[in-house]
């Protein structure tokens, strides 16, 4: 390995400089406040978890995990998402009464980049988990909250695509007969390979009607009308439940008044085995990757020892900032330059101003070489130097 230069950082690790930090906190506050308004409680978990517990339960692929060993030889992971750690806490501590839990987080997660740069390996996610409520109302609530929070963050042009893994499974099982065959067809959806899907379907030993049903499935993308079309692909009632849930979800989101951003896409398969029902992704203009995703994951909490349903979403703060475009500059601070003679006066003035919520920088004038350059960055500059104008004795 070549010798590292002192300025280098590991692949995908990025610094957050003051201006970006400010923009990030604005977004984080806008979204976090909305979550709090809906009664979600923020919590934190450790950055390191056991590979065997959180590492394997997480939806993130093994090769994306940062692994290390502790002094006892256990494999640890830097948390790759927040959902698995929260499921761990919920199952072991918080779920004693089996009452619905509304939790929120904003934290860095870590995912190793194998291939190239252009993507951070550590990034902040802000999200919620709604645990122990299996109703569609819970799914509707998290989607409506997400829309509402994004609006609070001043994001305008975004869209949510909603799918249902239960529908995909039921339809495929109905037509193909075995889990295994359904699974291999689902894999094409997961890989977003529609060409391969069509070729695979054409090569199957099925009636032309069934083949057409599978080919038509790829068209299940659009507004509420998609659900009727989906219904027509099913036979004898089975698989209706998933569609009923989606219908109900639609009505719930309409009642929230947030349906404008919602579209259905029944071909959406975000993960091979993680989600168990309704799932969704959020997209924004000008960003090439989803800015967030979520859905129902009823099997995860079970891995930590409690059988209960859960749903939630996670937004990526970095991509959200990209979608928001121009960073809003923070209000510049005011500056008081002082010399020793009027130090006390300067301190008092600063205290008064800070008391009214103004940001104030106090700077000993002897510490600055180029005063013009220094004062340029501040909104209002006050000079308290020399002996003249003594006052404000307290």
């Amino acid at each position: 390995m070549s010798q590292l230069f002192m300025f280098e950082k590991p692949l995908g690790m990025r610094d957050t400089l003051p201006e970006l930090y400010e923009a990030k906190s604005q977004v984080r506050n806008a979204i976090g406040n909305e979550m709090k308004q809906w009664g979600y409680q923020f919590m934190e978990t450790p950055a390191l978890e056991y590979y065997e517990t959180v590492g394997t339960a997480s939806a993130i692929l093994d090769q994306q995990l940062f692994k290390l060993l502790d002094s006892q030889g256990h494999t640890l992971v830097l948390r790759p998402d927040m959902t698995a750690p929260i499921a761990r806490v919920a199952a072991s501590k918080l779920l004693k009464e089996d009452l619905p839990l509304r939790l929120a987080y904003s934290a860095s997660v870590f995912r190793a980049q194998q291939r190239e740069g252009g993507r951070p390996a550590e990034f902040e996610q802000i999200g919620v988990e709604m645990i122990a409520d299996e109703t569609v109302s819970a799914d509707g609530e998290v989607i409506a909250l997400m829309v509402s929070a994004l609006k609070q963050a001043k994001l305008e042009n975004f869209q949510i695509s909603v799918g249902h893994i239960g529908f995909v499974q039921e339809l495929f099982l109905q037509i193909l007969g075995t889990e295994e065959r359904a699974q291999s067809l689902t894999k094409f959806l997961y890989e977003k390979n529609f060409v391969g899907y069509r070729e695979h379907v054409k090569g199957l030993n099925l009636s032309s009607i069934d083949k057409q049903r599978l080919l038509d499935f790829l068209k299940l993308k659009g507004g509420e009308e998609v659900l009727d079309f989906a219904q027509s692909l099913l036979e004898n009632g089975k698989g209706r439940e998933a569609l009923l849930q989606l219908q109900q979800l639609w009505e719930i989101v309409v009642d929230y008044g947030e349906q404008e951003k919602l579209k259905f896409d029944l071909t959406l398969v975000s993960h091979m085995s993680y989600y168990t029902g309704i799932l969704f992704e959020v997209y924004a203009d000008q960003v090439g990757f989803p800015i967030g995703n979520g859905g129902r994951y009823n099997l995860l909490v079970e891995k930590f020892g409690k059988t209960t349903g859960a749903t939630g979403f996670a937004l990526r703060v970095d991509r959200l900032l990209e979608a928001l475009g121009e960073l809003k500059k923070a209000e510049p601070a005011q500056c008081i330059l002082f010399s020793d003679e009027r130090r006390k006066e300067a301190f008092q003035l600063a205290r008064d101003k800070r008391g009214t919520g103004v940001k104030v920088v106090l700077q000993d004038i002897n510490g600055v070489r180029n005063i013009d350059q220094f004062t340029e960055q501040y909104g209002e500059v006050t000079f308290l130097i020399g002996k003249a104008g003594r006052g404000n004795e307290s």
Binding site: G118, N157, Q159, S161, K192, N193, F194, V195, G196, R198, E199, L215, K221, K263, D265, E281, Y283, A284, D285, V287, G288, F289, P290
Partner: protein, 214 residues
Amino acid sequence: MKEMITIAMPKGRIFEEAADLLRQAGYELPPEFEDSRKLIIDVVEERFRFILAKPMDVATYVEHGVADLGIAGKDVMLEEERDVYELLDLQISKCYLAVAGLPGTRMNDVAPKIATKYPNVAARYFREQGEQVEIIKLNGSIELAPLIGLSDRIVDIVSTGRTLVENGLVEYERIVDITSRLIVNPVSYRMKDERINELVDRLTSVTQEGVKAR
């Protein structure tokens, strides 16, 4: 006004076939389209922006979302495994990936060496055959490798087979058939769905796949 769509096109051989296909689908492209040396070509009337990229890089531009759509060979898709939608088989630029080498030779028993532009595809193929091989990545003129003893076999694209014959090589195994695909960024696929659906419909009707589906 319709929104602008950015399409990543592969430079070289596939480019002309892809441009022909777009014209067949009823899109008005300027006559000098193919002769330009520009890397970015705006076709304002159709609200298209074309970017001209190395074939191997098309999927990268689309994955990162700087191009909404792209035309990429299946070889690129297999090698790069980018997170993009592969929507349509355009049935152009047909060829295949094959294993080739000097006639009548066997692979080295201890450490068989394979030279290729497609290290991922080659490694996966031989692993599936139950063979562990050592991959040597080259960027072009792959046929040289077995001729001068760099490798036992090569994995490369074969369209007519002439290059192999002229260099005294023979094909040993055919790995997979290749055609060009229409690929789409997952976000564009949702955010610009109207324009993309229209393009897909029009292209479907002029490709073989469309003929068979009807």
